[in-house]
């Protein structure tokens, strides 16, 4: 099948040899990136080349959008609109905090001691584009290392939690959305303070709340806010609204589906909140890998004879 050229037309290694070499190189890269996250520096330096190209590629559509805006609206209105949007974002954190305060008043819970300050030094960023493949749910925003963006910063929009910064470039950063598969946010139910973990389902616009007992007091329409116990997300940010609760006695856990509160697929500006100051050291650090293993083990235990 492979035509070997005669040796007097010497042109380097054969295609098959090249294929083997590059395949091994690609696999090595993937392992290094996936297992050890060793290639952030390489990604960073490549992104310096890539982002200008992408900025140029975006120009036509942005230009069209701008021309359209000009004919549709008056310039003044646009300015005002933009300003208001920025203000909405600035107020979003405070508004969502208020929601929690109200719930707290009703429940007479004393949680304010644990509240960290937030929305101070938050960075407003514009969404550049969605990551363009059907396998990941990420967005790229226009603030990076130059604006002191750090990996792990929570990202909100006017109505709720959007996700978390997972990778920072020089001028842009990647935000993993809360709907990404296995992206988890510690939450609690506003109505009664029940804690749980909201986990992205890997499908657009769907969040699951796994490992909730069938007897748990949670029903469709409940609001889930961040509980703040992870020391990443400040408490009280709206995450999702429960849409379906499926409690059957046959299940070990209730099946709970929720819809993200933030417009996870349609926003233009988001706000990156600063990481809370490091508090008391954690009792034990468990990596995401361990947690996943733990999650897998638990249903298996059910099969064991009792």
């Amino acid at each position: 099948m492979i035509r070997q050229s005669p040796s007097f037309f010497h042109r380097g290694p054969s295609p098959l040899a090249r294929l083997t070499f590059f395949t091994l190189a690609a696999i090595a890269l993937m392992i290094a990136d996936h297992r050890f996250h060793a290639l952030e520096a390489m990604r960073l330096s490549l992104s310096v080349v890539v982002h200008p190209l992408q900025a140029i590629a975006r120009m036509p559509s942005e230009g069209f959008a701008k021309v359209g805006d000009y004919f549709r609206n008056q310039q003044q209105l646009l300015e005002e609109n933009r300003e208001l949007k920025a203000r909405v974002l600035e107020n979003a954190a405070a508004a969502q905090e208020t929601r929690l305060f109200r719930a707290e008043q009703q429940q007479l819970l004393q949680m304010s001691a644990a509240r960290g300050k937030y929305a101070e030094g938050g960075v407003i960023a514009e969404v550049l584009y969605n990551a363009r493949n059907p396998f990941t749910r990420k967005i790229v925003v226009d603030k990076g290392l130059t604006q002191n963006v750090q990996a792990g910063m929570p990202v909100i929009d006017g109505s709720g939690v959007v996700g978390q910064v997972t990778s920072v470039g020089t001028f842009a950063s990647e935000v993993t959305l809360v709907t990404e598969k296995d992206q988890s946010v510690p939450v609690m139910v506003v109505r009664n303070g029940l804690r749980g973990v909201a986990v992205g389902a890997g499908k657009d616009g769907l969040i699951e709340v796994p490992f909730m007992p069938v007897s748990a007091d949670i029903e469709a329409g409940d609001m889930l806010v961040t509980s703040g116990i992870d020391a990443t997300y400040p408490p009280g940010l709206l995450v999702a609204k429960v849409t379906v609760v499926d409690k059957k006695a046959a299940y070990v856990f209730a099946k709970i589906a929720a819809r993200p509160a933030a417009g996870v697929d349609n926003y233009r500006y988001v706000m990156l909140l600063p990481l809370p100051p490091a508090g008391a050291p954690r009792p034990e650090t468990r990596s995401a890998e361990d947690l996943r293993k733990g999650a897998k083990e638990r249903p298996r235990r059910r099969d064991a004879p009792r």
Binding site: P15, T23, S61, Y129, N130, R132, N133
Partner: protein, 176 residues
């Protein structure tokens, strides 16, 4: 040498190769089109313009464009798409290898039959990406996923018309 080798391929090999600038700018343009903000429902139909340009140059200028270039362009795509580094690189290298192996055969057909061959290559590249992502734990994105390689392969005709007519005209003007 077999007579089949002398007809379309060997004739072109004797002529002036396409300019490096044309190759560079077509690859750059392919990358830019891929970098356009595709989103939502159109994401699945996004044609991989860079891949089709790579296959085109591998078939027509095998001495200049090959698996090395494909690997590097794939890495750039991975950074732009914020995927695991090496996925696009792997897929592109596989497709380019196929193009290298099949180029003599591809060039002996007319454009519609060539498109079928190219469809095989784009499908292989998509299948590689799909398999890698499934291995990494992603969910199957649905059969609509295979619309993209189909659209990509259908671009073979336009790309040929655009690039080959340019290259051919250039060669004919500069060689007696």
């Amino acid at each position: 040498m077999r007579p089949a080798d002398l007809t379309p391929v060997a004739r072109d090999v004797m002529k002036l190769p396409a300019s490096a600038g044309l190759m560079f700018f077509s690859l750059l343009l392919g990358y830019m089109v891929s970098a356009l903000p595709w989103g939502g429902r159109w994401l699945l139909t996004r044609p991989d313009v860079l891949l089709i340009v790579l296959i085109f140059w591998t078939v027509h200028e095998p001495r200049s464009i090959g698996q090395g270039i494909a690997f590097v362009m794939g890495l750039l795509m991975d950074v732009g798409d914020s995927m695991l580094l090496g996925q696009h690189a792997f897929a592109y290298v596989v497709a380019t290898f196929g193009a290298q192996v099949l180029r003599v055969r591809i060039l002996s057909f007319s454009i519609p039959e060539q498109t079928l061959h190219v469809l095989g290559l784009t499908m292989a590249a998509s299948a590689v990406t799909l398999l890698l992502n499934l291995l990494l734990g992603a969910d199957f994105p649905g059969y609509a996923y295979f619309i993209s390689p189909l659209v990509t392969a259908l671009l073979w005709g336009p790309v040929n018309w655009l690039l080959y007519s340019q290259a051919v005209r250039r060669r004919r003007e500069s060689t007696p």
